[in-house]
Structures are given as C-alpha cells and as structure tokens.
Subunit: 426 residues, 2 copies
Amino acid sequence: MATATPVAATSDVDLGPATALSCRECGTRFPLGPSFACLECFGPLEIAYDYSGYDTEELRKRIEAGPASIWRYAPLLPVPADVAGKPNLNPGWTPLVKADRLGAELGFTAQLHIKDDSGNPTHSFKDRVVACAIEAARAFDFTTLSCSSTGNLAGAVGAAAARAGLRSCVFIPHDLEHAKIVVAGVYGGDLVGIEGNYDDVNRFCSELIGDPAGEGWGFVNVNLRPYYGEGSKTLAYEICEQLGWRLPEQIVIPIASGSQLTKIDKGLQELIKLGLVEDRPYKVFGAQATGCSPVAAAFKDGRDVIRPVKPDTIAKSLAIGNPADGPYVLDIARRTGGAVEDVTDAEVVEAIKLLARTEGVFAETAGGVTIGVLKKLVESGQLDPAKETVAINTGDGLKTLDAVAGTGLTATIRPTLESFRAAGLV
Amino acid sequence: MATATPVAATSDVDLGPATALSCRECGTRFPLGPSFACLECFGPLEIAYDYSGYDTEELRKRIEAGPASIWRYAPLLPVPADVAGKPNLNPGWTPLVKADRLGAELGFTAQLHIKDDSGNPTHSFKDRVVACAIEAARAFDFTTLSCSSTGNLAGAVGAAAARAGLRSCVFIPHDLEHAKIVVAGVYGGDLVGIEGNYDDVNRFCSELIGDPAGEGWGFVNVNLRPYYGEGSKTLAYEICEQLGWRLPEQIVIPIASGSQLTKIDKGLQELIKLGLVEDRPYKVFGAQATGCSPVAAAFKDGRDVIRPVKPDTIAKSLAIGNPADGPYVLDIARRTGGAVEDVTDAEVVEAIKLLARTEGVFAETAGGVTIGVLKKLVESGQLDPAKETVAINTGDGLKTLDAVAGTGLTATIRPTLESFRAAGLV
C-alpha cells in the first residue's frame, strides 16, 4: 500500500488555516503535502487547523459578507485566503428548499428542507470536493489533475481543471455508457478507458501515483483526498447558515464511501466549537440502496465491522461495496441517535418521482435513495416528523435519465379541441 | 386572432410596481390581466410600471440585501413584494464567469465574461420567465399552468408548477426525442403529445385559450406572455450588478423569438433611468444559427422586414423561423451599433467544445451559437476585443448531448503502467 507520495516542501505552502495532516486513528501529525495514509498506522489522514484566532461574531460577519459560493467559508477550509479570486468553478451556496409539499405527503409537522446540490456547476456535490482538491493541487505545484471515476467525478474534475488551466487526465472503465463518456470528455482533458472494472481502475491509479509517469499528478480522491474531503464540510456550513445559524434536528445523507456523511458531522461539530451555532442534539441518518447496503446491514445487525458487498443497484454513484468510511458512519449514526437505512431500486425510482412531483426537483438516483430512505425512516418511526429535518440531494436527474425512462406522454392527440376533450384531461 | 381572453377583475391584483398593460406599438393601456395583444392595433402588450417612488440609493441597498435569486429585483418586476416567501423555484443570480482563458484564445485584451444561466434550477434561462409567469398565474387565479414547447420550457413549467402546487399541462410534438419527454414528464404534470409539428402545437394552444376547455389555464408564453417576458430583464440587472453596477460595453445574446434580447435591452435602459448605472454607450449583438437566421439575414441586407424561414439547425431551442420580436431586435442592434450574426452547426459544435475546454462550462447548442458568433464577430472586426464584453449561455449541455456525441475516449488501455506509457500521454 502506498502510504504517501514524496512530500513536496511544505514550509511555504499557503492553505489558509490548515496547519498539518493528522491521522484519524493514531493522531500522528505530518506536514501538509500530497499524502493520504498514516506512515505509523496506515490510518486515513485528515486536515488539522488552527482556528484559535477567530472571534465568533467577526467570523460570522466575514462569512455573511463573503461570496455566494463555498469560498465564503474559506477561513474554515484548507485553501488560501484569496481563493475566490483564482480561476475555479466557485461551487456551493446551493438552495435549501423549503419542502412543504413533500413534507405534507410524508406527514411532517415540522419544517422539511431539501439541500439541493444539483445547483452546482456540473450539477453534483462533487464540485465542492474537487474545488478544494484543486487548491491543494496548485499549492503542491501539480500540473495534471486526475481521478478514477464512474461518472459525476469525471465531469467535475474535467470542468474544474479546464477553468483552472490545468491539464486533466481521468481514468474510467472503458465500457461506461456513451453519455457518461461524452459528459466527461467534453472539457477537452484526456479521458482514458481502462479495460477492466472500477476496482481495476482504482488499482491502476494507485500504481500510477508511485510511478515516475504519475509525477506532478494530483489524484483528487487519492493523494489529494484529505483536502478533497474537506469540501463536503461546506454542506454542513451552508445548511446551518441557511437555517439562520441553527443546527437541523435531523439530517439524512446518502452513503457511498461514507466520506460526505462523516465530513458533514465534522462540519457541524466545528460550527458548535466555533460558537457559530448553539450546541444541541442532532441526529444523523445514512441512506443506501439495498443493492449496495453494507453499512445499513452492519447498523441493523449491531456490528462494528462492514462486510464488503458486490454492488447491484441503479444508484451507481453510491455503489461502493467496501466503503472506507463505513465504520465512522456507524459511529456517528449511533452516537447521535440516528440510523442507517436502505431502499430498493423500485423505491428509489418512486422517490425520484415523488420529489419531482411535489417540489420540482429532479434528483439523480442517489437523491432518490435519500428521499426514499427519508420516507422509510418516517414510516418506521425512526425519524421524527415533528422535528426540523434536512435531506440532501447530491446530484441531478439529467445524469441518470435511464432510471425514469418509463416516464411518457399522458396522452397523444390530434391538434383539435375535439381530440383534446376526448382525452379526458378536462 | 385571439387578442385577449376575458380579463379577470384586476383592481385587486397585486403585481408590485406593475400598473397596466401597454401596447408596444400604439401605447394604448389596458388593465392588468391575462391579455397579450392590443385590442386596437394587435400589437404586443408590455407591462407598464410605476417606479416613481424609488430613491436610487435606497433601491440599490434593498436589492443588494435581497435574496440570491431574481427576487432581489422584485421592486422592478410584475410580482408581489412578498414573492420570495411563496413556493417557487427562485431562479437567477447565476454566475458571471470571468472568462480569461476563452478571452485569451479569442484575442481579448479587455475582460470577457460568460453569464452562465445553466445554473438555474432546471438549467436554462426559462426558469426566469416561468417564475414571473407563475406569479401572474397566481394573481389571476389560474389553476393550470400550460405552454407549448419543444424542450427547455416544458421542464421549466413542469418543475415550477410542481413547486407551486399548481396543475400543469404541457403540449409538445408527439415525436419529440424520448429523453426530452422524460425530462418534461418527470414532474408529474400532464404531458400531451400533439400529432403535428411545433406550429401545429402552437395553433392548438391558441384555440384552447379561447375555448371553455382552457378556462382557468395560464399559458406562460401566450396569455401570460407580457409577464413571462419580463423575467428576461433580470439577466440585464444581474449582469450590471455583478459588474459592480456598471453597463457592459458589448453584450452577445442568442435570438429565438428575439424576446430575451429586447428585454435585456429594456432592463439596461431601466437601470440607466433609475440611476443604478451610469449612462454610457453599449452595443447589443444578436446570435443565430445559420440554419435559422432570418434576423441575421435581414440585418445583413439592411432590411426592416424579417422573411420567415424553415428552421434546419441543431440549435433546436433557437429554431423559430418567424421570430415575433425580430424587428425590435434589428432596431436595437442598429441603434446601439451592434450587429446580428450567424454560425453554422459545425461552428456551434466547435464553440461548445471551445467554451468547455477553456472555461469548464458545458453549454447547450444555443450557448454554442452565442460563443460561435462571439468568435466570428471578433474575427470579422464587428466586436471590439478591447472592450468589456458579456456573452450569455442560456442553457446546459446535458440537454443537447447529441451535438457533441462524437466526443470519445482519448485512449483505451489495459490496467498496467506499461500499457499507459505506450498510449503516449506522458
């Protein structure tokens, strides 16, 4: 296992309040660099910050006066203070939708909100994490931005690299659907098809990082992963600020690797520690598709260990059979009194239609998983509809059209009033 | 021709600063209602406002303190003051992208910007106009939102109606591509296929408005058109505010019916009159696809009359062969010293790729038309690259994937370093 690539000289690295890399397991610290695993215990590395100089109310004002993007939270991210002036996609500050009609259908008496991340530049939450990774890539003088991907991430990396003027080279399984290849390739970077499945692509990327051929390459979800992951914290920041600097009482988050859920919890904890929100209980719920639900299975069984599965679900962007952050997700769900639940593909499709019909939000399959699980949690009494709740839609239905391909015309008529009346729509 | 549907009692209609409907040709005034053509001369009706009570600096502050959507400009739109609190899609406040890399490729020495309206909720500028139409629909107690459409508008109407809790019934040609049917139908409204072409659909809708079967129906682009059109003004407002309350020196806008271009000009003129921007010359340029370029042809020939054409272009969302506002577009281009230009479908595809490669913005074909025309205008000396310029991308490339379907993999390799090196990418 490649625990670390050669670390660039980091003494002059300006990544704002980030001061070091810290092992989530053993706490050992390392200088900021393109490393992702602890040299002592192989645990995952996280960013350590110095937030000690912040006055709460000054910080709040500074954030509120900031740009309508994740960069309003630059003081809390591993990015330089002048990040908003650099060429990047400026994702974030997506709508928090008051979902009154969906809430009524699900029996909510408290406010239900949808955090709709399809509003990002390439229409998924991946723009948040890639935006942070690209600042790290600039700091470490990387010239090529790379990743392994089966969809959303490829487009997010291609677009972000184009805007930043970096080369991109993205690796995907060679037999991906044509539409996904088009969306990933249109930004003009190199798009390499690997003869193999996603696991083969990942293995190849790990090899490439240790090879001279990969020198100067930043793999957003490998050697830049600690920086990349921090982008997900901004979902927590935005939700709380959009609620008027308040924690939601319940929050439902989809699980792929589990990174997003753990980072949202980290973000909420940071806001509490910084005094930006009042400390009060909140419950975190995780959502998986039944066809790839190793974390939900462990939660229901009361296990701490995640048993890897072979994914079989239409929710491709959540189809990680061996989620690296699964154990942390279990910890958070249990610590906060939440749960991890799963829904079938049929329920995913129904939930996509339910959200579209009630709120005009067309979610990708991952969003269908989240809304389907939200419904199931209410019905099973695990989530309280009398408490303020936020569910996250991480991407856009335009990217997973096949899931609702059965949607058709209500009627076909001749262009006459007679024919229209006969159709029985009035 | 149906000049007006029975006008609802409008004395108690609250549409903010809107006071009446006014004929663009003869100036005759009518009460606010679901009317769209002058009873005297058949000219198009526009909204008349009372902006007389506004103090410039108070208005500016009020706008700047408003929501990150078109509703920050509620004081200048035909909507009630409390519009932001009603259930709607809250479109607008989309990014104004500093397009330095595209500018460099095109030889700009002044700043080039892309106003990227793919950031709207259903990823096209149509959300702006539909959001205004829906407020009029509420004011006139309509219970069904309707339109004729070949694509973007159907989705925008379906989504907005779903959020607002109104019924929707959208009419489209029955043989539309399946993906477009899915996108329009997913919001759960009625979607009726008409056996005929888009013209047949339009004719049918006009008939339906005059028929009891259409009672209580608001057709956003017919009997609500005066309100609907005003949504496009917000593009002008946002561009100027995002420039720091300054007019751009040059602006390039795609032409379908020509409504968007004329409303943007109207918006710029309003900002000047209100004192929100300094009055200085600006040039307006119109962009068409060669396969549907009746306005560009008239401009080049020095004609005032638009000769209708049969559209034949991949830019379907601009394919209106007899653009209603064509004569007004000619007036504006000539008055401001701009031009109307057109590009071939091959140039459209190249422009989509150019914008994606340089700025990470994936535009639909209409955006390709605008960027292609921008390039041609610079090359032909009609647009000055030493002057600050804004070009508008009105929609998202995910909706017109076929245009760039030729995009493929750079290379296909086995998952080995040897195979990667042999591909010649490093």
